[in-house]
């Protein structure tokens, strides 16, 4: 049975039964807190209340609190979410809430993950823009309504919160898999006519840890808080690589 530590700090007022995973890379346990109910309360509000009241040493990460920065992603009742955009009353199960760090990433402490592997995959997938001109030449006009530009614009909205990476079962099974966010970024650049790095990028995304490992389960698309479609991006990369192979470019 899982170890648990209970901290009951509220009186008679209506409260939520909250389990918070606390520990570090060596392991941890669930701690139980009673958190008073507030109107329009978000999961981030709950974590902040716990940190400001019974557990000042609770480690968690947030910045904007309004769904822009993507730094407050955690596992809420078993599902990866932005805690700042998740209202408690929409995710409560039998009046209970469990909050844990994101899956598939090493834990630094409590609810804070080390994002290094996530951004390493981003670089390995050729996520950096490769310019084709220098600052002395005029910028080319980019038509906004081409098929490629629309695909690039759709994928470029990713803010790298790692919710898709945590939701991906293939990442859980195969730790070197590039993952949905990195491949989505690569797809955005593959469709960017200003970029000149596609030859190397297509090699990077078609390696042993590349896009072909995706099983198209689409957890990434299901959980993306920005409503992006990383699974569609990965399918696009598979088609592009296949075309490159048929043209003899590999």
């Amino acid at each position: 049975m899982e170890a648990q530590a209970e901290h009951v700090t509220t009186g008679d007022e209506a409260s939520v039964h909250v389990r918070v995973w606390r520990g570090d890379s060596g392991g941890g346990q669930w701690h139980i807190y009673r958190v008073p109910v507030r109107r329009n309360q978000t999961v981030l509000d709950v974590v902040t209340w716990i940190q400001q009241n019974p557990a000042p040493d609770l480690a968690y990460r947030f910045a904007c609190r309004v769904g822009v920065c993507g730094s407050c992603a955690m596992t809420v009742n078993g599902e990866p979410r932005w805690t700042c955009r998740t209202h408690v009353n929409r995710v409560l199960r039998d009046g209970q809430l469990s909050i844990a760090p994101l899956r598939n990433l090493p834990v630094v402490r409590d609810l804070v993950c080390d994002m290094t592997p996530f951004f390493d995959r981003w670089s390995e997938a050729g996520g950096g823009f490769v310019p084709g001109i220098d600052r002395h030449r005029p910028l080319p006009a980019i038509a906004p309504d081409t098929l490629a530009r629309r695909a690039a614009d759709a994928a470029i909205e990713c803010i790298n919160c790692a919710v898709c990476y945590a939701a991906c079962d293939v990442v859980a099974w195969k730790r070197d898999f590039l993952g949905p966010a990195a491949l989505n970024r690569a797809w955005s650049l593959v469709n960017d006519e200003r970029d000149r790095g596609n030859r190397e990028r297509l090699r990077a995304v078609s390696g042993d840890a590349g896009c072909h490992n995706c099983h198209s389960q689409q957890n990434c698309t299901q959980y993306c808080p920005n409503l992006l479609d990383p699974a569609g991006s990965i399918a696009g990369l598979k088609r592009t690589v296949m075309r490159a192979v048929l043209k003899g470019e590999f």
Partner: protein, 109 residues
């Protein structure tokens, strides 16, 4: 998964798709028309066409299944390196031998 194996698995799926339909059609026809084993073998023995249909079916299945199970072994059992390659080859060759044995029995024996 190496790109070559991915392509090989898609290619083998392309071959398998129509052959699965042919195989299902043969089963339905044989059952509904009341053919017994003797009359079935009478039609398949010595037939180059049936030998080619089921021979290519067995080849495609052996490739497709071995690569698919390789992925399961790698992701769920964390197998890799020579152990993974050896098991994949063993599965593919095992299916190939068993399949060709059956094809041989109904077309050539």
């Amino acid at each position: 998964m190496p790109l070559g194996l991915y392509l090989l698995q898609r290619l083998s799926a392309l071959v398998m798709a129509p052959l699965v339909l042919v195989h299902l059609g043969v089963i339905i026809y044989a059952v509904r028309s009341g053919l017994d084993a003797e009359s079935l073998l009478g039609r398949t023995r010595g037939s180059v066409a049936w030998g080619l249909v089921y021979g290519s079916f067995v080849l495609a299945v052996s490739i497709h299944a071995a690569i698919g199970i390789r992925t399961v072994l790698h992701e769920w059992l964390r197998l890799k390196g020579p152990a993974l390659e050896a098991l994949t080859w063993a599965l593919g060759l095992g299916l190939l031998v068993l399949g060709f044995r059956a094809v041989f029995a109904v077309t050539l024996a």
